[in-house]
């Protein structure tokens, strides 16, 4: 147990000690080597890098240098990433073998290891994080501490004003003050639907019941989305603090974090954070001696996408099949075990403490008229800078894909961007300049969703993409209501038929009609949004559907049954590389002959296309 005075003291001392993390001119002789330990970098051996650094420092007896594990820096494509502070040198794609050189050259001799600097899009080598174009248009609020602090050390969180908002709230505010602040800030739920956060809090507060609950939805199921995971891994205390504030506001004393079991690092760090907070008396009975009780438990999900839906999530916490409940009653009235329950998404919570500390005016000055603040996107797919980006609402898709994301690799062209995962839609080239906020995305047939943003180049077939998403919905539909359970299955079958070259024009009409019916009659958000990928691709890429059903061709060769791979005789030099690489010996010809592809044998794996040095196969 720590008293408030003791916590203030920790903050003061640590703040000085950690100034070098955020201030390049910090007055210190110390250096901190920050090594990313997010899931992406961990998969490429960053724990070994951490160990190596520590070992070498010990061997060489170097003092004043500390090695720190941090959360995600965001630029996952260039991982593993190592940053040295205070000078803010950014080393990319570091391997465990590079540690020796970094310590010798950078730490001992004071020179930069040029070959490990990160190459920017224009080819120049960036020395620091701020010099990289990837970071220039970003504004970090929810990710503020990610990559700055050690997520497994509560003192570092406290140093950067951690738990200060909770103290302010408990000492100086009434629940109505908090709701007022949230209302003025304009914060909306970051889980997908964008419901105003203050309203949820207000409704749950208004419910007359002794027992209430606060729940954090960390069941990030969208394929290709990892925003929430990075926050949990990089800054778990910010979620605990926000949940405590929420509990005080609505009058709850028990909280649950429902997190995917597929995120082992996040689960581990959350548990460490909870244990530390309990030890400091920030969770538990009589917090800060101010008469407020609150505690949090982790509940693991077991791999069901539908559990991201709030009522299905509640069922799952209760130990049952995760099937959604009918609404109303909303969870604010009847949630966990029938008691009023407040559910917010991870990213929503990550904004709360800062809104309290910096004020609602500051927050609402960022973003667009109806969508305030920032949004974190997981940028992935065919784009150069894959990673996590946080931008002010209203940033255009073009800025995200080209300025931050660095454009499309291999000289290909942008075809579409997909937001909102299986519930969202595809955004074509002509809408690249749409400012991204809740309303404008809805207008063009997509949705904000939780923040997955997948970029696709011109080698992607949109019909097959729609099929991919439907395949996902079919296997994740919980089966409770018929339109979703059977409707999505039928849609998937039709799409399969089209991709197999057996579709007809009436199938397109059937898809449209089915979509409408499923949207109208499904019980929960999963079914109501499941047809979106089909509707949006049919709207923007109608030609492609027509080619599939009328001309029976797939230009991208992705639909194997429709693909026809051929050698362009004028370009073929007869080198035979394609022949050597063909797994089924479908390529005929000898010596310097121009090669032919035997269509009967060809399995359309496209290996030859990627192997041909003369681009003579298409």
């Amino acid at each position: 147990m720590k008293t408030l005075e003791e916590i203030h003291k920790i903050r003061e001392n640590k703040k000085k000690e950690l100034d070098l993390r955020v201030n390049t001119n910090a007055d210190t002789r110390e250096k901190h080597i920050l090594v990313c330990q997010g899931t992406g970098c961990t998969s490429s051996k960053s724990p070994d890098i951490l160990k190596n650094f520590k070992k070498i420092l010990k061997e060489k007896n170097i003092e004043n240098v500390r090695v720190i594990k941090t959360g995600c820096f965001g630029l996952c494509a260039k991982g593993p990433i190592v940053i040295i502070r205070p000078e803010d040198t950014f080393y990319a794609m570091v391997t465990p073998n590079d540690c020796e050189e970094i310590i010798q050259t950078h730490i001992v001799e004071g020179k930069i290891v040029e070959r490990l600097l990160c190459k920017d899009i224009d080819g120049s080598k960036a020395k620091s994080l701020d010099e990289l174009s990837f970071y220039k248009k970003q504004k970090r609020i929810a990710l503020k501490n990610c990559g700055v602090i050690d997520p497994e050390n509560i003192d570092e969180y406290i140093a950067f004003d951690g738990y200060k908002a909770l103290e302010t709230v408990l000492k100086e505010m009434t629940p109505d003050d908090i709701i007022d602040i949230l209302s003025k800030s304009g914060l909306r739920g970051r889980g997908g639907a964008g419901f105003p956060t203050y309203k949820k809090w207000e409704f749950t507060k208004a419910a007359e019941e002794k027992q209430k609950y606060v729940v954090c939805n960390a069941d990030e199921g969208d394929p290709g989305a990892f925003m929430d995971r990075s926050i949990l891994e990089g800054d778990p205390h910010s979620i605990l603090e926000a949940m405590s504030i929420a509990a005080f506001c609505i009058g709850a004393n028990k909280g649950f974090i429902y997190v995917r079991a597929e995120y082992p690092i996040a689960v581990k760090r959350l548990q460490i954070a909870i244990d530390q907070a309990r030890e400091y008396g920030i969770l538990g009975k009589n917090i800060f001696n101010l008469g407020f009780d609150f505690d949090i438990e982790i509940r693991l999900g077991a791999g069901a996408f539908v559990c991201g839906e709030e009522t299905a999530l509640l069922e799952s916490i209760e130990g049952k099949r995760g099937q959604p409940r009918l609404k109303p009653p909303y969870p604010a009235v009847s949630g966990l075990w029938g008691k009023p329950t407040l559910i917010n998404n991870v990213e929503t919570y990550a904004n709360i403490a800062q809104i309290i500390l910096k004020g609602p005016e500051w927050y609402s000055s960022i973003g667009t008229e109806n969508s305030k603040g920032t949004k974190v996107f997981a940028l992935g797919g065919n784009v150069n800078n894959i990673g996590l980006v946080e931008v002010p609402m209203g940033t255009t898709l073009r800025e995200i894909v080209f300025d931050i994301g660095g454009g499309i690799p291999n000289g290909r062209e942008f075809k579409a961007a997909q937001t909102g995962g299986p519930s969202g839609g595809c955004i074509p080239k002509e809408h690249l300049d749409t400012p991204i906020d809740y309303e404008s995305l809805k207008e063009i047939g997509s949705m904000m969703g939780s923040g997955g943003l997948i970029v696709m180049d011109d080698t992607k077939c949109m019909v097959s993409l729609a099929k991919f998403y439907l395949d996902f919905t079919v296997s994740e539909s919980c089966g409770k209501c018929t339109p979703c359970r059977i409707g999505t299955k039928r849609m998937h079958e039709i799409l399969e038929k089209i991709c197999d070259g057996k579709g007809s024009e009436s199938d397109i009409y059937k898809l449209e009609k089915l979509s409408k019916n499923i949207i109208k009659s499904s019980v929960c958000g999963l079914g109501q949004t499941a047809p979106n990928p089909v509707i949006s691709t049919m709207k923007y890429f109608a030609d492609e559907y027509r080619e599939h059903v009328i001309d029976k061709t797939c230009k991208t060769n992705e639909c194997k049954a429709l693909a026809k791979i051929e050698v362009i005789p004028e370009k073929c030099k007869g080198c035979g590389i394609c022949q050597k690489n063909c797994p089924v010996d479908a390529i005929e010809g000898e010596g310097r002959d121009i090669r032919r592809i035997n269509q009967e044998k060809c399995i359309k794996c496209t290996t030859c296309i990627s192997k041909c040095p003369f681009k003579a196969i298409k």
Binding site: S43, P223, G224, F468
Partner: protein
């Protein structure tokens, strides 16, 4: 896989210490079902039938309900898993970078469909949703170890190596 067959209900007669311990950690409260199943899956690699029966008695929940929960969540399986669990990520980021080809190749080589286990219980193919390593797409994992920026050739190499190890 050593102690996994030892149980109270099979013929070996040995006591299942894990289960006994589990029943002391958790209270016989219905809400704990999924948490307990998560630990059981982790320990045994699947949820054996006799464990479901024990759970049913402990938590006072009908078997049917437990079976319903086990089959609802993709993390739980009713069959033993292979020694090597190869999971191919089919999250969107990996999918657009060609992970389907890797999965197809895996099925072709092991002659089983995704979700199935080879007869010798060596390999299980699993198609997972996003493992979060989108920066390395496409990825596949072997018992949790991530192979990033993977190609069909990489997969072949890994499979060859594993097959050689196992003779």
């Amino acid at each position: 896989m050593d102690e996994k067959v030892n149980c109270t209900k099979c013929k070996c007669g040995k006591e299942d210490k894990f289960l006994k311990k589990l029943f002391t950690i958790y209270k016989p409260n219905k809400d704990n079902l999924i948490q307990m199943l998560n630990e059981i899956q982790e320990h045994y690699g699947y949820v054996p039938m006799y464990v479901q029966q024990e759970l049913s008695e402990f938590l006072k929940i009908p078997m049917a309900e437990i079976y319903g929960v086990v089959t609802f969540y993709s993390r739980f399986s009713l069959e033993p898993q292979g020694k090597y669990k190869i999971s191919v990520c089919l999250g969107t980021a990996c999918f657009v970078k060609g992970s389907q080809k890797i999965l197809d190749r895996l099925s072709e080589r092991l002659k089983i469909e995704p979700g199935e286990t080879t007869e010798d219980v060596l390999f299980t193919i699993d198609q997972t949703r996003c493992v979060g390593a989108c920066g390395l797409a496409p990825v596949f994992t072997v018992n949790g170890e991530v192979y990033g920026k993977a190609t069909v050739q990489d997969l072949d190499k890994v499979l060859d190596k594993l097959l050689e190890q196992e003779g």
